[in-house]
């Protein structure tokens, strides 16, 4: 099964590449992700720009409306994601718990919906 990990970090990621904090965060993620690569469960992963860079698109009555920012004003922001292939939820939860975000924020584990083409 495919699972999407949504990484929430209330503090946000450190910005300054020269800081110790940045190096530590980088190393922590690299370690967790390398383990997942090695186990063959990792399909994709990426950090995300902050929501200040987000745009939201809606199409209503044929008109495309674009607004600045995320769709809903929520306090916590998704700071990154992973897509993994795991045997079951228990395996996915074990991997999710190895991510730094699980320690200073949280990881939402969402099963990816397998779309069946219309018959």
């Amino acid at each position: 099964m495919k699972y999407l990990f949504l990484l929430y970090s209330p503090g946000g990621a450190p910005k300054d590449p020269t800081s110790v904090e940045y190096a530590e965060t980088f190393a922590a993620f690299a370690e967790a992700e390398a383990a997942m690569e090695k186990a063959g469960v990792m399909l994709d992963c990426a950090p995300l720009q902050p929501v200040s860079a987000a745009s939201t698109v809606r199409v209503r009555d044929g008109r495309t409306m674009v607004t600045d920012g995320p769709a809903a004003e929520i306090k916590e922001q998704v700071g990154g994601y992973l897509v993994v292939e795991c045997a079951d939820l228990d395996e996915a939860l074990r991997w999710a718990a190895t991510l730094p975000s699980a320690r200073d924020g949280w990881v939402e584990v969402r099963p990816v919906f397998s779309v069946v083409p219309p018959s």
Binding site: L89, A92, L93, P111
Partner: protein, 393 residues
């Protein structure tokens, strides 16, 4: 928590039932027996004996388990599939209250209506919760299996609670014409034993098995041939299953020796206070009140406090117990809990406040109860108001 409400029902039942017919006029029992203190006293001695035998904890537990198995009228331990199903229903990714509901439905085969009665919610609400949980299991990829050893312990609490509830529901069926649903009791005991085989060193697992055995030992004495409820104080203690009591006490003592008391060990210690009293009048209510006070630290719920109130009433008189119960009456959950009304009714009756007692009994009759309990309450109402029509609340 809703689960706690139902789990403690039976304990309240036992305590209040014992109080009903034989109110002690003599105060505290002459020979108070203290389980925890007694166990603590023997602890050092046992440690020396263990040392001398050079037994490992594991082999000792396995030997106890093997010796314990053939004692009771117990069926085979469920195979791994059933246990796997229980762990699936109790998965931490599911909401706490729905885990119990799901197990009762999927493992024990209760109808949605019966599960709803256990949780004091309308049937439609329960049906919706069950459907949502099953969908989550399917969509999220929760598998039917016993978790690997490294995650077994953290998955245990939810499972223990579920097994306890399964048994409790069988021992004192919420609804239906028979008071004891033997198949649910047996399922509960079998599940608990299977868990103990899996985790012989977890004192709370042993505590749970002990609790179930000590309670189940009274099964034959709880209902008379006509199907009427027999109060703890009136039970023919000769009908109690001595093998189950011995096994339960043995498991409890072993569990307490680990020095990690928990709710199930404490509940089992309370059950043992009843089992070890040769006559109802010998029951050590002071010890039971203390055990409930200790239990409150683990489960700070109004139901445990209500249980303590009954024990306090046995030691210090009905007025003292009623004062505690009346403080709990406004609790939103307890208002829907018939046992609170039954317990209040009994204390009011003992205080000679017959009209208020009848009102409280009638309040209890508005809830779903087993036929045996309804009959018991109606007899009480008739006794208190000989001209009243007991059938019409």
């Amino acid at each position: 928590m809703v689960g706690d409400l139902a789990t403690a029902e039976d304990a309240v039942q036992e305590a209040f039932l014992a109080a009903v017919e034989q109110w002690p006029t003599q105060g505290a029992p002459a020979n108070p027996r203290s389980w925890l203190i007694g166990v603590a006293r023997h602890k050092a001695l046992d440690a020396i004996r263990r040392e001398a035998r050079r037994d490992t904890k594991e082999t000792a537990a396995q030997r106890d388990w093997a010796a314990a198995r053939p004692a009771g009228p117990i069926g085979p331990v469920p195979d791994d599939d059933v246990l796997g199903l229980v762990f699936m229903c109790c998965h931490p990714a599911l909401e706490v209250s729905v885990r119990v509901a799901l197990t009762l439905r999927s493992v024990c085969g209760l109808s949605a209506a019966e599960v709803a009665a256990v949780f004091l919610v309308p049937e439609a609400t329960m049906a919706k919760r069950l459907t949502r949980a099953k969908r989550k299991i399917r969509d999220a990829g929760i598998r039917l299996r016993v978790p690997p050893p490294d995650s077994l312990t953290e998955r245990l609490d939810a499972v223990l609670r579920v097994v306890f509830l399964v048994f409790t529901e069988g021992h004192k069926a919420s609804t239906g014409s028979t008071l004891v649903r033997e198949s649910l009791c047996d399922t509960g005991v079998e599940l608990a034993r299977a868990l103990l085989a899996l985790l012989p060193d977890e004192p709370e697992v042993a505590g749970l098995v002990a609790l179930l055995l000590l309670t189940d030992a009274r099964r034959a004495a709880r209902v008379d041939p006509a199907g009427n409820l027999v109060l703890l104080a009136d039970q023919d203690r000769g009908l109690w299953n001595r093998d189950l009591i011995r096994e339960g006490e043995h498991l409890l003592e072993g569990a307490l020796r680990a020095g990690r008391p928990g709710p199930y060990q404490l509940h089992a210690a309370i059950a043992a206070c009843h089992s070890t009293a040769p006559y109802a009048g010998d029951t050590d209510w002071r010890q039971i009140a203390l055990l409930y006070a200790e239990l409150l630290r683990h489960e700070p719920t109004p139901v445990i406090e209500a249980n303590r109130a009954i024990a306090v009433a046995m030691v210090d008189g009905p007025a003292a117990g009623l004062a505690i119960l009346d403080r709990l009456s406004d609790h939103p959950q307890l208002g829907h809990w018939p046992q609170l009304h039954i317990a209040r009714a009994d204390l009011l009756r003992r205080l000679g406040r017959a009209d208020e007692a009848v009102d409280a009994y009638r309040a209890a009759l508005r809830f779903e109860l087993s036929a045996a309990e309804r009959a018991f309450i109606r007899r009480r109402i008739v006794q208190l108001s000989p001209n009243a029509d007991a059938g019409r609340p």
